[in-house]
Every structure is written in structure tokens, then in C-alpha cells.
Subunit: 339 residues, 2 copies
DNA sequence: ATCAGTTACGTTAGCGCTAACGTTTGATTA
DNA sequence: TAATCAAACGTTAGCGCTAACGTAACTGAT
């Protein structure tokens, strides 16, 4: 293993000089020496020992990415949403010369360990939130970035999207197409703030236009018996003609159930999704959905992180990215179907 | 920050004794002292400094997960395949008390850095292979686990699936259903060994049964102009009636293109996929596919890793998991369609 | 009572690096 | 010409931990 000392001996300088060169602290080293040391280090295949660096400098170039381990409604990284975010985040922070550690955490103890044991310079909470956040913030004076968090705790750096606006967009579009009998379906309606806000945006827009969504049309639902649910909603006296799904994945469940029941999309039933994941454009028919730019979200998260690492006194920010409607073919004008 | 020394002072022992307790090296410490130290450490909220540990012990409890950064045909972590693997791998190694670092690497230098700078105890190459593997192995005497690697280099620990068998299964099933005019479609036919072996299994099974696949029916293809391709294959004198897609995602592209062209699946065209990702069962019609157990693959990778970390003299292993056909509704008997 | 063997600790040194403070040399200025 | 200063290095100490080797006290066998 090649160490600073090895290089120093070969170059006939002290290891401190080599250290300076390796850290780009070149103002205290002459140009000639800098070049010579760089060459020798290269020849010897020197790779800095990160642990020693952390220990000596009391700071690391490490970021922790935290995922919830009590996964409500499917574990993170299984859907293309959080994994795409993670991938882009990793790439971005690597560009900045940082490394990323991945941690599944289930409680305060886990989080604490993740942050402390490796002396990370910052952390990104991916789609999770912990109530002990204040304590965590106090214990670790490092920037913590949250994604899609609707916490009552202020003084948090968060990057999320305008879920409310997404709900409004969906409502507006369905209304525009003549749909008045609507439903809101998806897992974890009550789970976290994200879905809540989509629902609120959806309902309040409708209410303003004089349309109401009866409680039995707001369904917290997994993929289990989607056919049963659809049957109840569509084969009734006053059938639902438009559904706002809480995610594109959920929309695909609806597609499958509708197919089984002989309900045609969009002729009999219009469906609008959320996220615009890769497969949405290949669904049949291509899914109309509320698009969020997940890569941009990751990029912003990374930028916020770096900014706060470099200047710990940066003000708290709550970034709200806007979403857009992607019009495809899963919603059509009312009056073309069976019902 | 609480250190061993702090605990030692409070307990009236040396820091070495505390170190022993913290590492479960309890045979050199009395039961009473062990309990007392544990209690104090707990009260003080002690969390070991991993960097100091690595530095002093010259070994870490860290695993590197490496992903290729020159992503041919889509970057890793964007498809549910590699991200699901990564998630399960992380969980498994955490269970063993290890942590995971995620690295996008593009060349030998990157790989070298990832392995050396943090002194990782082992590494998993996710869906990638580097030609400098021998050098890497020699430089770092740590276990390296590969996934789905068909290298000519022996003496490598690999965990993969029987792609050849998968091809055979697909061929056998399509043949059984009466299809003789077949095609093989997907990205990176020439890219890496995985797809090659699926193709070989597919073709050689067919050849044995006296069926041949003409070269123009073996198409290295992305999602760009799938409709054009399908038109060429299906609207000909002797139309293709069965397609083996190299992945489920690719199958979904075929679904979309077929829909656009008015080709019905499975009546006019049978499609069989590969992987059995989450969405396959929700495609319309539900996709018949070759299933590989991605979580089991991750579990085996983790087990192999741990085994080789604990005993570096373990023999090299090349695990080949078998695959199975999942019969759903995208393949039907010949003679029901237009063509 | 003596000695080997065990139990339960402590001491020392150093992992590779860097923060903080020297030191030397030559150039510049009063 | 002495004082001043910056440039270009070196020295020292220590980050928190552990490997490797002590060592004292106690045990039981002879």
C-alpha cells in the first residue's frame, strides 16, 4: 500500500508537502515540486486513505442516502421512482467528489448510526421522515435534505413537488373532458402528506367547479382486488367515468383490472396517473399523467446539499417544483363509452 | 463526541477494555465489567468511529456496489431490475453488520479508487464487467462478486441465471403453441453475454426441432421505431407470429407498437418476455415471461460475499440459478389471428 | 509452599493523515 | 545594512481505535 510517506521519501520531501499537493493546496508548494510529486504519486499508484483523512481532518466527503426500512406500501428502490432518484443523486454527488453510502433505516438509532459512525458530511432522506428530526439536527450539525416531506417542523431543507397543483391539474383536465363522476384511487391515501395534498388539490379544484367526490370514491387501495373495486365504481347506477390514480404504477393496476372486466380505457373509463415513469408512454393506451422531473429533483437535492455543506449558514429552503400534465390517450371526452 | 476514552474514564478502566466489550471480545473481560461498560456506553450514546476502526484494524465492514457509468442502453438503477437487486443486496449485507457504498464507475481508475480508498472488505459488480479484472483481483485481495457475467476469465465468483435455459424455455413454449415463424428482439443483442446466451438457447432449441430463425428476425433494437420494425416483421408474406423479447421492458415496447399498428396480442402476435418484473402481471394482456428470482440472486450474492470475506480461501464459485416460465396470456395457439 | 496456568485487565505503539504552528531562505524595503 | 516579509518548506502532535504484547492477581495441582 502506497502512503504519503512513501511518496515523500522518494521525492525527498516531507509527507506534509505531499499532503498539500494531494489536496490541491498548492499555494504553499512550488510549481516544480508540485509537478514532481504529482508524477511520483501517479507512478506509484497512490490512492489516499479516506479513513485516515476523515480521522485527521474530522470531516469526510461522504453523503448518506437514507431509505425507510419499514416500507409502507412497497419498499423503496423497487419502484422506478426512488431508484431513479438515487441513481441520479449518486451521479451528481460523485461529480462533486463525494461518495455515497446507502442505508436502510428503521428508527432513530439506525439514523444516528448512519450519520455518526462514518462522520458523513450530509444526508438525504429519500421519501422518508422521522419525527425525531429536531434531535437529529441538533446532534449532527450537518445538512439534512428531505424529499417530498410535508412536515409540520419548519427549518428543514426539503425538495419536493407541488402535489396540490398536480391534483388540480388532474381535476381540471378530467373536468374539461366532461367527466363529473370521479374517483381517487391509490395506496396510502392516509399514509403521508404527498398523497394527501394530491387529493386535496384534486377535490378543492372540483369543489370550486361545483363538483364533489363522494367519500366512497376516495379509496386507499393496493393491487389486491382492484377488479372488485372497479366493479363497484363502474357498474353502478351512476358510474365513475374518470379516475385519478395516485401513481402510474397504480394506474397500471387499474388498466389490468379494467381489461379483465371488459371496461375499455379511455372509451368507458378515463384514467390519469402521476409521476410519468418510463413505462407510462408504453402502456395501452399511453397514459395521460402528471409528470414530475425526478432527475431534476435529484440534481436540486445534490445542489442544495453541496451549498449547505460549503456554507452551513445557508438559509433553509423548501423547494417546490411544479408539475405538468402530459396528455396522452388514457382520457377521452365523455359520451363515447358504454355507461 | 463520545469516544472510548470517555467511557473508559467514567468506568475507571482502560480504553482497551472498553474496546474489547464494544467488539464482543468478552472472553477477556469479566461479566460484571462488561455489563457496567455496556450500560455506560449506552447512557453516553456511544457510536464507534468507523474511520478510526478501519485505520487501526486495517479492515473495514464496508461493501462497494459498482455500477457501470457508460451505460449502454439505459443506465443502471433506472430499470426495476438492477435497483431491486441493489435494494435487496443492501438489506442483506446490513443484516450482516456491513455498510454499502454505491459507486458509478467508468474505468479501471474509478474501480481502483472505489475499492482502495475506503478499504472495502468486498465488492459486487452489478451487471458490469471490466477487462482489467485480473489486475483488480491481484491489487486487491478482497472478494469480488460478479452478477450475470460471462467472462472468459475463470477464477471469478459469479452469480447469474441460466440464460441459455431461458432461451430454450421460450422456444419450447412458442413451438408447443404452434409458432414456427419467430423473431428475437431487444436491445444489445451483441452487447454482453447475457443476451447472447438467451439467443443461443432460443435458436439451438429451435434448430433441434427443425425450425430456423432467419438473421433478419434477430434484431438488436431499442424503443425508437419499434412500429416500423413490427410492420416489417408482421405485415409480410410469411409473417412472424411469435416474438421472444430480451426483457419485459422490451416486451412493453412491442405491446405499444403492436397496439398502434392494430396488431392484437396474443391473437395476431404472441410475445414472451424475460425477467418477470413487477409490472408484467399488469400488462394487457398479462405477459408470459421467463422469470428470474432477483431477490434470491441478491441474497446469494450477499452470502457468497460474506463466505469469502470470512474465509478468503473459499473456492471460486459460479452460481447458475435456474429460471422458470410464467404462463400468462401473451402467447396463444396459432391459427386464431389475422395472418 | 511452589509453580504453572488462567483470568482480567493495562501499556505501548502506530494505522495514515492533517491542523497548527515552526523554520529556513531569499527578496524587498526603510 | 538591518529589519521585514512572503514563499516554501518541515515538525509536532494527535484524530480514535486496535494488535500485540505485557502483568498482576488468583486458582488449583503437586
Amino acid at each position: 500500500m502506497v502512503t504519503l510517506k512513501d511518496i515523500a521519501e522518494k521525492a525527498g520531501v516531507s509527507s506534509m508537502t505531499v499532503s498539500r499537493v494531494m489536496n490541491g493546496n498548492t499555494k504553499d508548494v512550488s510549481a516544480k515540486t508540485t509537478e514532481r510529486i504529482k508524477k511520483i504519486a501517479d507512478e506509484m499508484g497512490y490512492i489516499p486513505n479516506s479513513s485516515a483523512r476523515v480521522l485527521a481532518s474530522r470531516s469526510s466527503r461522504l453523503i448518506a442516502a437514507l431509505l425507510s426500512d419499514y416500507g409502507e406500501g412497497g419498499t423503496p428502490l423497487e419502484d422506478s421512482y426512488s431508484s431513479c432518484f438515487l441513481g441520479e443523486l449518486t451521479r451528481q454527488i460523485q461529480k462533486e467528489g463525494y461518495d455515497l453510502m446507502l442505508h436502510y433505516v428503521k428508527d432513530y438509532t439506525d439514523i444516528n448510526y448512519s450519520l455518526k459512525s462514518w462522520k458523513v458530511a450530509g444526508a438525504v432522506f429519500i421519501g422518508m421522515f422521522d419525527e425525531n428530526i429536531r434531535k437529529i439536527q441538533k446532534d449532527n450539525s450537518i445538512p439534512l435534505i428531505f424529499t417530498d416531506s410535508y412536515s409540520t417542523v419548519r427549518s428543514i431543507i426539503n425538495v419536493g413537488i407541488d402535489d396540490y397543483q398536480g391534483g388540480e391539474l388532474a381535476a381540471g383536465y378530467l373536468l374539461e373532458k366532461g367527466h363529473k363522476n370521479l374517483a381517487f384511487i391509490g395506496p396510502a391515501v392516509l399514509g403521508n402528506g404527498v398523497i394527501m395534498h394530491r387529493l386535496q388539490g384534486f377535490c378543492s379544484f372540483l369543489r370550486e367547479k361545483g363538483v364533489s367526490v363522494p367519500p366512497e370514491h376516495i379509496v386507499d387501495f393496493g393491487s389486491d382486488d382492484m377488479a372488485g373495486l372497479l366493479k363497484r365504481l363502474c357498474f353502478s347506477e351512476n358510474p365513475v367515468t374518470g379516475i385519478f390514480a395516485t401513481s402510474d404504477v397504480c394506474a397500471s393496476w387499474i388498466y389490468a383490472a379494467a381489461y379483465r372486466l371488459g371496461i375499455r380505457i379511455p372509451e368507458d373509463l378515463s384514467v390519469i396517473g402521476f409521476d410519468d415513469i418510463g413505462m407510462s408512454r408504453y402502456m395501452i393506451p399511453p397514459l395521460t399523467t402528471i409528470r414530475q422531473d425526478i432527475r431534476r429533483k435529484a440534481k436540486i437535492a445534490s445542489e442544495l446539499l453541496m451549498k449547505n455543506i460549503r456554507n452551513p449558514d445557508s438559509p433553509m429552503e423548501n423547494i417546490v417544483m411544479s408539475v405538468e400534465l402530459v396528455e396522452r390517450e388514457s382520457v377521452c371526452g365523455l359520451g363515447t363509452g358504454h355507461f
